[in-house]
């Protein structure tokens, strides 16, 4: 990112840092903003990753959480560029806007992008495409992800998982150990104390690291607003061909099968989370700015994963996928 542009284009969010030191000022700093505390914690975790691992990778989905991750990584290593590449697991069923944004961001941060293709995994016969109305490639991503981790010998995969997202994630560590099969063992996690992170491992094992574990959905949105972080257009209101399935609005794409009672309509929608097009529920919304989105979210009564098809499959859908090596 262009540093000059940043300086002129943006107010320093912690302008009061410039004062001279005394206990009183420290106390004022502590008080200012919980987002700063979360930011400092995440930066700390990023630096631990760079120090403890040989070959980390940042899992980039094009969603807001991974965009915030990239932003925090920029801050952690400034004035150097982010010292590891981004990995995008491409289901082949992405929103086109997500892919365009991804390439734009990679260029802007002078980063390196690796793409793992679910289509290739299917073509190689390592995964079988689901069939039926709710067919999704969401679960197939796990195979592609683990293949990429082993092919490139990544020893740490940095993800945008948050503990407030889902109950299985609530018990996840910042540094989460994966065995040589890429599996998570929720019953035998390493205790994690203070901010001392234990990333030691044997050959073939790897870690998943979650620098924004302690952030909530609202924190993410407020931070995006405060930092003026650029997002793909699909997060804001736009008109789109959609259909309603069991109370969830889904984007229509030509490869999707409709049930007899489902009709394609044109609506004003925005995405609250962004994943594979087949399982990303849309919110009917006219919110055209970050402020309006935050207002909507603050008043909303459904979790963001409440509109995700992948979690609705069963009560322990997330835990089951995580055990297998999902994000």
């Amino acid at each position: 990112m262009n540093k000059k542009e940043k300086k002129s284009g943006k107010k320093s969010p912690a302008g009061d840092k410039q004062e001279t030191g005394s206990t009183k000022i420290i106390q004022r700093f502590l008080k200012t903003n919980h987002l700063r505390e979360l930011e400092n914690e995440s930066i700390f975790v990023f630096r631990e990753i760079a120090a403890q691992f040989q070959n980390p990778i940042l899992l980039f989905s094009g969603g807001k959480d991974s965009i915030v991750l990239v932003h925090l990584a920029l801050k952690a290593f400034y004035p150097a560029i982010i010292p590891f590449p981004l990995l995008h697991i491409d289901t082949g069923h992405n929103f086109i806007e997500t892919l365009e944004f991804r390439d734009h961001l990679v260029e802007k941060i002078q980063g390196r992008l690796i793409v793992g293709s679910v289509q290739e995994t299917i073509d190689q016969g390592k995964a079988v495409e689901e069939t039926g109305f709710n067919a999704s490639r969401n679960k197939l991503q796990t195979t592609t992800l683990l293949d990429a981790i082993y092919a490139y010998k990544f020893d740490a995969a940095i993800g945008g998982g948050r503990r407030d997202e889902e109950k299985a994630r609530a018990k996840e560590r910042f540094f989460s150990h994966r065995d040589e099969f890429g599996q998570w063992n929720p019953k035998n996690q390493r205790p994690e104390l203070w901010n001392i992170y234990n990333g030691r491992k044997n050959v073939g094992e790897h870690f998943r690291v979650f620098p924004i574990s302690n952030w909530t959905e609202l924190d993410i949105w407020q931070y995006i607003l405060e930092e003026n972080i650029e997002l793909p257009g699909i997060y804001f209101t736009h008109t789109r061909e959609v259909f309603c399935r069991d109370g969830v609005w889904l984007a229509y794409a030509p490869f999707m099968k409709l049930k007899p009672n489902e009709k394609v309509l044109v609506k004003q929608v925005r995405c609250r989370t962004v994943g594979d097009i087949t399982c990303t529920g849309l919110t009917l919304s006219k919110a055209s700015s970050l402020k309006k989105i935050i207002k909507e979210i603050a008043a909303t009564r459904v979790t963001e994963r409440g509109s995700r098809w992948d979690d609705k499959r069963s009560d322990t859908a997330m835990e089951d996928r995580k055990v297998e090596g999902y994000f």
Partner: protein, 431 residues
Amino acid sequence: MKNKIFKTKNINKPVPPIASLLRFTTAGNVDDGKSTLIGRLLYDSKAIFEDQMEAIELSRMRKGEEHINLALLTDGLKAEREQGITIDVAYRYFATPQRKFIIADTPGHIQYTRNMVTGASTADLAVILVDARHGIEEQTIRHSYIATLLQIHHIVICINKMDLVNFSQEVYEQIKNDYKSISEKLEVKDIHFIPISALLGDNVVNKSRNMPWYKGPSLISFLETIQVDDTINLTVPRFPVQYVIRPQSKEFHDYRGYAGMITSGFFNRDEEVLILPSGLTSMIKSIDTYDGKLQTAYAPQSVSITLYDNIDISRGNMLVKPDFLPRISQKLDVMICWFNERPLLLKGKYILRLIAGETRCMINEISFKMNINTLEKDSSDKHIKMNDIARISIKTVQPVFYDSYSINRSTGCLILIDEVTNETVAAGMMI
């Protein structure tokens, strides 16, 4: 008019700071209703969403229960829901207009002391549940001891299930007095008592109508207003170096920034610093962040510091100020909590890891084991097993720079790692 002047004066008065983020831990025995309390906090503060509620309501109807089971909100893993117990530390989030809260929810079974220690390590405050019918029990003492061991200065004793003792003030006063006489053995700095009914919601978020004799705040309004800024030491400057930033770009060709978090105190530009372990001194040339250069940086800021002199500094080194030196030693006295199924090996070798550095070490001596139910020291039993708390002496290969945990949490804590399995086998606090 007068009123206005008064108001202005009020604003200028130094307002006690309230951190906008409060991390607290909850401890209670299996049946003390801890999960219900947390469910209640989340539910009444509207941190629970419709889809989560729907799932719980469905479960209630399936089982034909009278009240919704708020505990279901927090039991995340399959095995936990099957057995109806909590296995692991779970982190919960909710916010009120005043504050954001992070709860480290820890299970209360005796075998899970390690989880309680883990949850307490990042907490500013501990909420301990007591069943009003049973009063103070062994586990209440255990939970309180662990909280004080981890230097949590603020403890709230929630006397729960008041509905089952007819909201009796006598019961409440009796438990309060019992606790006070026991807690004399502990170094509790700040203690509060709140009578609640987590099941019915009395004094959790809303004040109870059933206990007019209780004049204090509800749990949530207490948590919203308590000051906990004493968790970070504001006077002792410590900057452990995590990572060295070397852009090697055209613009920053010779840049060498020491990246880390100021874990306590503050640092100024153009100020003298001493580097450990070398003992060399230099001056701070700049304090850099992505958002610009700083004149002063405070705990807990993550920054990058450059020095005027070219000194070899790497991860595990620490910048301090010459008039605030930490202790430097290869022999450490430590209180530990053992985490692993394989017991501690006397004369065994482990990896000792501190905030930003590690060295190999050997357990030289076991001084005593703590009986955390009676708070007695047992110097005869030298077998340290999982969930035991003990005082030990460690000899390290490299000198370690540290502070006493009671003075500075951030530079007084450590973990021990098994060299073969790489597991975290113990948490330690420097004496």
